[in-house]
């Protein structure tokens, strides 16, 4: 009986150590995945903030002041900070990229060590979810204003402006798409953290 128990213990020990190896390997791949996603999120949100932040276009528009006189040529600028939705978008993307940079440094510093514990992961999930909320709401805001500029709204007589400022609108659309990809990276980060918490239960 004792002999059998001893051999059983040995088998369980072997299984456990193999399981631990697998778990360590899993943690390492999860860590690499997380770092890659954070780099991606950093690059994409920073690019979105910059693309919209440098967005500016001037156009010479003929304006008829008085009937009968030749139209007056006036240069009309379009800048990103004319629309409050775009200001919100740029600020949120700058904040998200700064957060991605800080969390990337922290996750690289914590790598491998025991400090990548579940409670620090909990804090990271909290902050990642907040970033997801800010990014998605800013994408919604900038997208709605961009669509309004593109299509106009005949019910309230808001005229479209994208037929005049084509480059401005194109750049805004690129910024929204970049930010959307960056926020999807943040969504994946939350899912990855949740999965690694779940893995620790069933190890």
């Amino acid at each position: 009986m004792e002999n059998q128990k001893g051999s059983n213990d040995g088998k369980i020990d072997g299984l456990e150590s193999r399981g631990r190896e697998v778990m360590v390997a899993n943690q390492r791949t999860t860590g690499t995945c997380e770092s890659l996603l954070r780099i991606l999120a950093l690059a994409l949100t920073l690019a979105a903030a910059i693309v919209l932040g440098v967005n500016k276009q001037s156009k010479v528009v003929p304006i008829k002041l008085v009937e009968g006189l030749p139209p007056l040529n006036v240069s009309v600028p379009a800048k990103w900070h004319y629309l409050s939705a775009f200001v919100y978008f740029v600020v949120v993307n700058a904040v998200a990229s700064a957060y991605a940079a800080v969390s990337l440094v922290l996750s690289l510093a914590n790598r491998g060590g025991k400090s990548s514990s579940s409670s620090s992961r909990l804090v990271v999930i909290f902050l990642d979810v907040i970033m997801v909320s800010l990014l998605f709401s800013s994408i919604g805001a900038a997208g709605a204003i961009g669509l309004m500029g593109r299509e106009g709204n005949k019910h309230v007589q808001w005229k479209k402006v994208c037929n005049t400022f084509g480059k401005f609108c194109g750049q805004a659309a690129v910024a929204v798409i970049l930010s959307l990809l960056g926020s999807i990276a943040f969504v994946f980060l939350v899912m990855l953290s949740a999965r690694s918490l779940h893995k620790k239960i069933t190890k």
């Binding site: 004319y82 409050s84 998605f136 994408i139 919604g140 709605a144 309230v156 949740a194 779940h198």
Partner: protein, 194 residues
């Protein structure tokens, strides 16, 4: 002994648990009922938001002409209504799933993981809908002097009040979704064996 049975680990232990497990067992029940309660709250918030937005119709008579403002005049508000309806439907389904966890806690950690995944997705949809409607509502409230977009809220006051109320409720719904995601993460964290 029976404890070497490999399938036994996934099922709840019928034998008397140790002191540590006992503590978690008492904590688990309030957390999952909190989850179900928050989901019911989310459902109520989504339904309220959609109803307030859909009933925002206002007609104004200016002499012979009458002007009408409805939510489906703006694609942003249509998206808002669609997104909040989807979230309301989702909250019904997950409330049932959450109640099933309370009834039968055997697979709760797997369920909670899936809750976290789907909650994040629905949360993205609700947050973007709130941002969309908020941006359009802000332009309607303040107007924009650079682009010739005039404000409409001085004319359609009841319409704008409805939109603002609906936005506030949807903001509350997104806060509830954040709490749900945090709760799922916290529950998973609690279940990690020491």
């Amino acid at each position: 002994m029976a404890s070497t049975d490999p399938e036994y680990g996934t099922k709840p232990q019928p034998n008397p648990p140790t002191a540590g497990e006992n503590k978690w067992k008492y904590l688990k029940v309030p957390l999952s009922s909190l989850d179900a309660g928050l989901r019911v709250l989310l459902f109520a918030a989504c339904v309220t938001s959609v109803v307030v937005m859909v009933t925002s119709k206002q007609t104004i008579h200016q002499g012979p002409v009458s002007k009408e403002a409805k939510f489906n005049h703006s694609p942003a508000l249509i998206y808002f209504v669609a997104a909040l309806s989807v979230a309301g439907l989702y909250s019904i389904i997950t409330t049932l799933a959450s109640i099933s966890i309370i009834m039968k806690p055997a697979f709760s950690s797997k369920f909670i993981l899936h809750f976290a995944f789907w909650d994040v997705l629905i949360f993205g949809v609700v947050a973007s809908a709130t941002g969309t409607a908020g941006a359009v509502g802000y332009v309607g409230l303040k107007g924009n002097k650079h682009v010739p977009w005039q404000k409409v809220c001085n004319v359609f006051d009841k319409y704008c009040r409805h939109i603002a109320g609906s936005l506030a409720v949807s903001l509350f719904a997104s806060v509830v979704l954040v709490l749900l995601i945090w709760l799922s993460a916290f529950t998973l964290h609690k279940k990690i064996p020491k």
